[in-house]
C-alpha cells in the first residue's frame, strides 16, 4: 500500500471508529417501578436543601418505603408510594407531575377564610380596579390609604403594572399591600414589585443553594437586595397583609416588606415554603420538583418550614367571612392611619 493509501485508510478507520456518538454515551436508565422510586429518592438525596432544617432522616424514609416500591406493579401503585415518601418532607414546593395531573402537598388544611371579594368590595375599597393581567387589584380606602392586592406572582413581564396602580393612587399617603392567598410564582417579579416601594437599596434576604452530596453542603450565601426602580417609588408607611396560604415568591415579597423601613406585617404566619425548586424528570415522562435552596432573612433567620410570622397577629374566622367582614384588613386600616404623618 502506498503512503497515500495508508493515510487514507487510517483516516477512514479513525472516522468510522467514532462514527456514532450515541454508542459512547450511556443509555437511559430502566423503567421498572422500583427504579423510578430509586431515581426519585436519589435525586432528593442529592439536591433537596432542607433535610437538616426539617430533621428528616432520608435513609430511614427509604428503608420504610422501598419495600412498597419493590412490590408495586402498576403506575398507580408506584406513584402512590413515591407520593407517600415525598409527603414526609412536608414541603409545599415538592410536586410529582404525572401527566395530565400534578400532585403536591395539600394546602386544604391551611384554611384562611380570606375572601378577596369582601376585601375588595365597596365596604372597604372605593373605585377598585384591576390591571390588564388581573394580577394586581387596587383602589383607595378612604382618601388617604392606597390598597394594592397582588393576586399572584406567576410569570414575568407584567410587574410594570404596579406603576399604573401607584400612579392612579397618588392621593395615598400610606399603602396596604395585600398578598393573602398568594401562592407565589416568579421571585424576580415579586422583587420588582417590592422595588416600587423602596427609596433606597436595602438587603432583605440571603439564599444558599445545595451544592454537594452531603445534606449540609451549601454554596456561599447569595445576597438579595431590593433596588428602587420604576417611575414612582413610594417611601411612606406600608402594612403588608399575610396569611397561611402565602408561599414561595409571595413569601419572598413578604421578606422584602419585612426588611423595608416603616413597614409592618399583619395577619397570619406564612406557609414557610421558600426553596427554589429544581425540576427533575423520569424516563417515563413524569416530572417532580426538588427544592434546592434555603432562603434566610437579612440576619440569617430561617423561615423554611416555619413561615414568616407577622408583627401583628389578627385571626380571620369563618364567622367573620360569613358576616362579610375582613378583620385583618380592618386592623390594617386602623393601624396604618396611626402611621400616617
Amino acid at each position: 500500500m502506498t503512503s497515500r493509501g495508508r493515510a487514507l485508510a487510517t483516516a477512514a478507520a479513525c472516522t468510522l471508529m467514532v462514527g456514532c456518538t450515541e454508542m459512547l454515551v450511556p443509555r437511559s436508565r430502566g423503567l421498572e417501578p422500583v427504579e423510578l422510586f430509586d431515581i426519585v429518592w436519589q435525586d432528593f438525596d442529592r439536591y433537596y436543601a432542607s433535610f437538616e432544617i426539617k430533621g428528616v432522616d432520608w435513609n430511614d424514609v427509604r428503608q420504610r418505603f422501598r419495600p412498597q416500591a419493590e412490590s408495586a406493579r402498576t403506575d398507580a401503585q408506584i406513584a402512590a408510594t413515591i407520593g407517600r415518601m415525598l409527603v414526609e418532607l412536608r414541603d409545599p414546593h415538592v410536586e410529582l407531575a404525572i401527566p395530565p395531573h400534578t400532585f403536591y402537598v395539600s394546602l386544604a388544611a391551611q384554611r384562611t377564610y380570606f375572601d378577596p371579594n369582601t376585601a375588595f368590595g365597596t365596604r372597604y375599597v372605593t373605585a377598585g380596579r384591576m390591571t390588564p393581567t388581573r394580577n394586581i387589584w387596587y383602589g383607595m380606602i378612604g382618601t388617604d390609604v392606597g390598597y394594592v392586592r397582588v393576586v399572584s406572582f406567576v410569570g414575568t413581564g407584567w410587574s410594570g403594572e404596579i406603576d399604573t396602580a401607584i400612579e392612579s393612587l397618588q392621593a395615598a399617603r400610606a399603602f396596604i399591600l395585600d398578598v393573602r392567598d398568594n401562592g407565589g410564582g416568579n421571585s424576580g417579579t415579586a422583587e420588582k414589585i417590592a422595588s416600587r416601594f423602596a427609596t433606597r437599596r436595602y438587603r432583605f434576604a440571603y439564599v444558599r443553594f445545595r451544592n454537594g452530596p452531603r445534606h449540609g453542603d451549601f454554596a456561599d450565601p447569595i445576597a438579595r437586595d431590593i433596588v428602587p426602580i420604576g417611575p414612582q417609588r413610594f417611601g411612606g408607611p406600608v402594612i403588608a397583609l399575610t396569611n397561611r396560604r402565602v408561599m414561595s415568591a409571595a413569601e419572598t415579597f413578604v421578606m422584602a416588606m419585612r426588611a423595608r423601613p416603616n413597614t409592618e406585617l399583619l395577619g397570619d404566619t406564612t406557609i414557610g415554603g421558600l426553596g427554589n425548586p429544581l425540576v427533575r424528570e423520569l424516563p417515563n415522562g413524569w416530572t417532580f420538583r426538588v427544592p434546592q435552596s434555603i432562603e434566610y432573612g437579612p440576619g440569617m433567620e430561617v423561615f423554611e418550614g416555619v413561615g414568616i410570622g407577622p408583627a401583628v397577629v389578627v385571626p380571620h374566622s369563618a364567622a367573620d367571612s360569613a358576616a362579610g367582614r375582613d378583620p385583618q384588613l380592618e386592623a390594617a386600616i386602623a393601624r396604618i392611619r396611626l402611621r400616617i404623618p
Binding site: S3, R4, A7, L8, A9, T10, A11, A12, C14, T15, L16, V18, G19, C20, T21, E22, L24, V25, P26, R27, S28, R29, G30, L31, E32, P33, I39, R46, Y47, R73, T74, D75, I78, A97, P99, P100, T102, F209, R210, N211, G212, P213, D217, A219, D220, I222, N276, L278, V279, R280, E281, L282, P283, N284, G285, T287, Q292, S293
Partner: protein
C-alpha cells in the same frame, strides 16, 4: 396505562426516533474516505507558507448523559461556526480557533415528548506544535505540541409541555494537553489529522444547575475528573490565488467525573473557506 406498556413504548421510540440529522452525518462519514481518495489523485503544489484564515460552517450531532439534568440520554443535532487562524511551516504550526455550536437535543422518547434542551458551546483553542519527524518525503509531516482549550458549555433545559419554564446547566473548562498532528500533502491538496488529549486544567463543573453556584468557581482537574479526546480531520484543497476549501470531520468525547459521571460526545462535518493572509513568500 400500565407501567410495562409505557416501558415498551418508550424504549421502542428511543430506537425509532434517533435524530434523523444523524443519518445524514453517518452517510457523509462513510462516503468521506472515498471522496478523499478521489481528490488525492491530483498532484501539484500547495506550498503556500502564508498564514491562513479559515471560516467554517459545521453540522454537528451530539449526545450526552448528564444525570444532574436527566437520567435519560439526550441526543440531537445542530450547527456551528468557527474562525481559525493557522500558520503552518515546515518545522512548526501555530493554530488558533474560535468555535461556536448550537444544538437542540431531546431524549428521543415518546414519554418525554416536548422535553428539549438547547446546548450552546463556545470554544477557543490555541495549538503550538513542532515537527518531530524529519521529512521522509516532502508530502508527510508529523507534529507534536501543546493545545490549550477554553470551553463554555451551556445547557438550557425546557421542562416540557406540562411545566413552562427553563433552567440553565453547564460547565466551563480551561484545559491543556498534548496534540499530535499528521499531515499528508499531495499537490494542491493536504490531509491533516489531529488528535488532542487534554489531561490537566481548571474547571467549573457545578453540582447541579448554574444558579446553585452563583459565580464561576474554578478548581484544578486532571484525567481522574476530566477525560477528553478531540479529533480533527481536515482536507484542504487549493483554489485560485491561495484561497482554499477545507472539508472537515471533528469528534469530541468528554467525560467528567466530579460528582457523577457526565458524558458528552459530539461529531460534526464541516465545510470551510480558507484565505491567505499577507503576500506570498518567495
Amino acid at each position: 396505562m400500565g407501567l410495562r406498556n409505557c416501558t415498551v413504548r418508550s424504549l421502542t421510540s428511543i430506537e425509532s426516533l434517533r435524530p434523523r440529522a444523524g443519518l445524514l452525518v453517518h452517510a457523509l462519514l462513510i462516503t468521506l474516505p472515498a471522496l478523499l481518495a478521489a481528490q488525492a489523485a491530483a498532484d501539484s503544489t500547495i506550498d503556500d507558507r502564508r498564514s491562513r484564515l479559515t471560516a467554517t460552517l459545521m453540522g454537528v450531532q451530539m449526545a450526552q448523559h448528564v444525570p444532574s439534568i436527566s437520567p435519560s440520554r439526550y441526543g440531537g443535532s445542530g450547527v456551528g461556526v468557527a474562525l481559525r487562524w493557522e500558520r503552518a511551516r515546515t518545522s512548526s504550526v501555530w493554530d488558533a480557533n474560535m468555535e461556536f455550536v448550537h444544538s437542540n437535543i431531546n431524549p428521543g422518547s415518546m414519554a418525554l415528548a416536548g422535553h428539549l434542551n438547547q446546548v450552546f458551546v463556545g470554544t477557543v483553542a490555541l495549538t503550538r506544535a513542532k515537527a518531530v519527524q524529519a521529512m521522509s518525503s516532502p508530502r508527510r509531516a508529523v507534529f507534536v505540541g501543546l493545545r490549550l482549550d477554553a470551553t463554555a458549555h451551556a445547557d438550557v433545559q425546557q421542562f416540557g409541555p406540562l411545566r413552562p419554564g427553563t433552567d440553565v446547566f453547564g460547565y466551563a473548562v480551561f484545559s491543556a494537553g498534548p496534540v499530535f498532528r499528521v499531515s499528508f500533502t499531495s499537490g494542491t491538496r493536504r490531509l491533516a489529522w489531529e488528535l488532542a488529549v487534554p489531561f490537566i486544567g481548571l474547571a467549573d463543573i457545578p453540582y447541579a444547575n448554574a444558579k446553585a453556584e452563583g459565580s464561576l468557581r474554578l478548581h484544578a482537574v486532571t484525567v481522574t475528573q476530566l477525560r477528553t479526546v478531540r479529533q480533527h480531520l481536515r482536507y484542504h484543497t487549493r483554489l485560485t490565488r491561495g484561497w482554499g476549501v477545507v472539508w472537515g470531520y471533528d469528534f469530541l468525547f468528554e467525560q467528567q467525573a466530579r460528582y457523577e459521571t457526565r458524558t458528552y460526545a459530539r461529531q460534526g462535518i464541516s465545510a470551510a473557506v480558507s484565505a491567505p493572509l499577507g503576500r506570498q513568500r518567495p
